[in-house]
């Protein structure tokens, strides 16, 4: 155990000796990893926003301005009896105006209006949430008497969902490419190390070191460099989010709403670090497998 610890300490000492070159590699790894990680965080945030906003799908029915109370009653009954509809909620035009005043902070603008521009409306909650069925239901409801406009409120959410899938694929591709870059960086760092430690490797082989013993410090190096690169990526993402949130704060205040970007979750942070450690190990392993066997004592 003490020897393994001594090897790790030796590796760290060596890293410290070449700290400038080392920091550069770590920075490169950090930036390479922070791109997909940052994109991933953004997607997670958009995703969170979508589920928060869309909730269960609903259809808004806006009525003609001249709809009378008994038209509305008749329509309400018709909707309640429809087999595809769970229930429908009536929103009177005055009520809608009041809501608008409270929720958007546009009270001044609305107060300046001579008359209420909003129509009476129904919010229809369908029983089934599938896009295709909803579209048909919307078309059907649009043809009902006194209905001016039927709008499927969460259609945009489905479209966004499809867009997010596209985004996730893009992140995956980017992450794969940059992982290859990371492996290549470690591969090359380790290659240079093996060259500079040629004497030590040769002597160690001559006095009975197994290949495993010789390989281990390089693998430790790869893992530690990967870990530090992962930490750098985490810091880059977290600091960027902090800066963005700061700006976003000023922006959302103007719209009187509260919205902040969430940072990487603890689970995702851990995955990021483990992944970067694994990539470092892999790069080191490949490099060692390729270069170590070429050093044979004479």
């Amino acid at each position: 155990m003490r020897h393994a610890l001594a090897q790790i300490i030796g590796v760290m000492g060596r890293m410290f000796d070449s700290r400038l070159a080392g920091s550069l590699s770590i920075l490169v790894i950090g930036i390479a990893l922070s791109l997909p990680a940052g994109m991933y965080v953004m997607l997670q945030n958009v995703q969170g926003m979508v589920t928060q906003l869309s909730g269960t799908p609903q259809i808004s029915l806006f009525l003609n301005m001249d709809a009378k109370a008994d038209d509305i009653d008749r329509l309400h009954k018709q909707l309640a009896q429809h087999p595809a509809i769970d229930h429908a909620k009536f929103v009177a035009r005055d009520e809608a105006l009041e809501q608008l005043k409270q929720s958007t902070g546009l009270a001044d603008v609305i107060g300046g209006l001579n008359q209420n521009p909003l129509p009476d409306a129904f919010i229809v909650y369908p029983k089934n949430g599938e896009v295709q069925g909803l579209e048909e239901l919307r078309n059907e409801l649009a043809k009902l008497p006194r209905v001016e406009l039927a709008q499927l409120d969460s259609a945009w959410a489905y479209k966004l969902e499809a867009l997010l899938k596209f985004g996730r694929m893009a992140v995956l591709i980017l992450a794969s490419l940059l992982s290859l870059a990371l492996i290549a960086i470690t591969f090359n760092t380790i290659r240079l190390q093996i060259l500079t430690q040629r004497d030590e490797i040769e002597v160690s082989k001559l006095i009975g070191a197994t290949n495993g013993f010789i390989r281990r410090p390089f693998l430790y190096f790869g893992v530690i460099q990967g870990l530090l690169g992962g930490i750098a990526a985490w810091l880059i993402v977290s600091l960027s989010l902090l800066l963005l949130n700061w700006q976003l704060g000023a922006l959302t205040e103007l719209y009187a709403s509260q919205f902040t970007l969430h940072p990487l979750s603890p689970g995702d942070s851990l995955s990021l670090l483990l992944f970067s450690m694994y990539l470092g190990w892999l790069g080191a392993w490949l490099s060692v497998a390729r270069h170590l066997s070429r050093i044979e004592p004479r």
Binding site: R2, A6, Q7, L206, I207, G208, A209
Partner: protein, 217 residues
């Protein structure tokens, strides 16, 4: 302990380094290997440590046929050997103490026990006071003794030394021979190569003489 049976070694390019060499060295024996440079002394020692493999014949060390040992088994063969290299092969990126520690690290020896053994080995070659120095600061004779300390720290059953007194003045050479004799007294098998006939005069030990790759009887 070491036995060569009709061993031939030819290097790529056709140089015939050893020709039909046969001999045996018993356990605990101390043997000198002499000959001019180029006679094949280093090659013979390299065959024992499996740094080179014979083209023909068998090399048996500690009951193992070294010539056909698998790559994986080599480290365990070499842990039984202490080798004093002609060019020392010291590591200049660490101090004297850590140079001697290396073989014990490699064997995964208990750390506390290792420290004691390293100090004992350094004491034996008279370098205990220099343990914190970098080997580059040592004289030629001290570097040679450091190399010996590293070779014996593991308490090997066989000690191979390639020209250990090669370019040292006579006083140093005698010191080093005295160190070797003390190992002989505790039962280590020694094979020491030298082109320096003067160190042989006062000893009654067996001599293997090589000339152009052939063993003179």
């Amino acid at each position: 302990m070491i036995s060569f049976n009709q061993v031939h070694k030819r290097y790529p390019g056709g140089y015939h380094a050893l020709k039909n060499v046969s001999f045996e060295i018993a356990k605990g024996e101390m043997v000198f290997l002499t000959g001019h440079s180029g006679a094949g002394k280093s090659t013979l020692l390299k065959l024992i440590a499996a740094i080179e493999r014979p083209n023909l014949g068998s090399v048996i060390v500690n009951n193992q046929n070294v010539g056909v040992l698998k790559e994986r088994a080599l480290p365990y063969l070499r842990r039984n050997l202490g080798i004093v290299f002609q060019d020392h092969k010291l590591l200049f990126d660490r101090n004297v103490f850590d140079n001697v520690m290396l073989p014990l690290q490699i064997c995964g020896f208990d750390y506390r026990e290792s420290q004691k053994r390293v100090r004992a080995a350094l004491d034996k070659v008279g370098l205990l006071k220099r343990e914190k120095s970098n080997p580059i600061a040592l004289s030629g004779g001290e570097q040679q003794r450091l190399c010996i300390a590293r070779a014996i720290v593991n308490r090997p059953i066989i000690l191979l030394a390639d020209e250990p007194t090669g370019n040292l003045d006579t006083d140093y050479a005698h010191d080093i021979m005295a160190i070797f004799k003390s190992f002989h007294q505790v039962g280590v098998t020694l094979l020491i190569s030298t082109h320096d006939e003067s160190v042989l005069q006062d000893t009654g030990v067996r001599v293997l003489a090589l000339r152009q790759g052939e063993l003179l009887s």
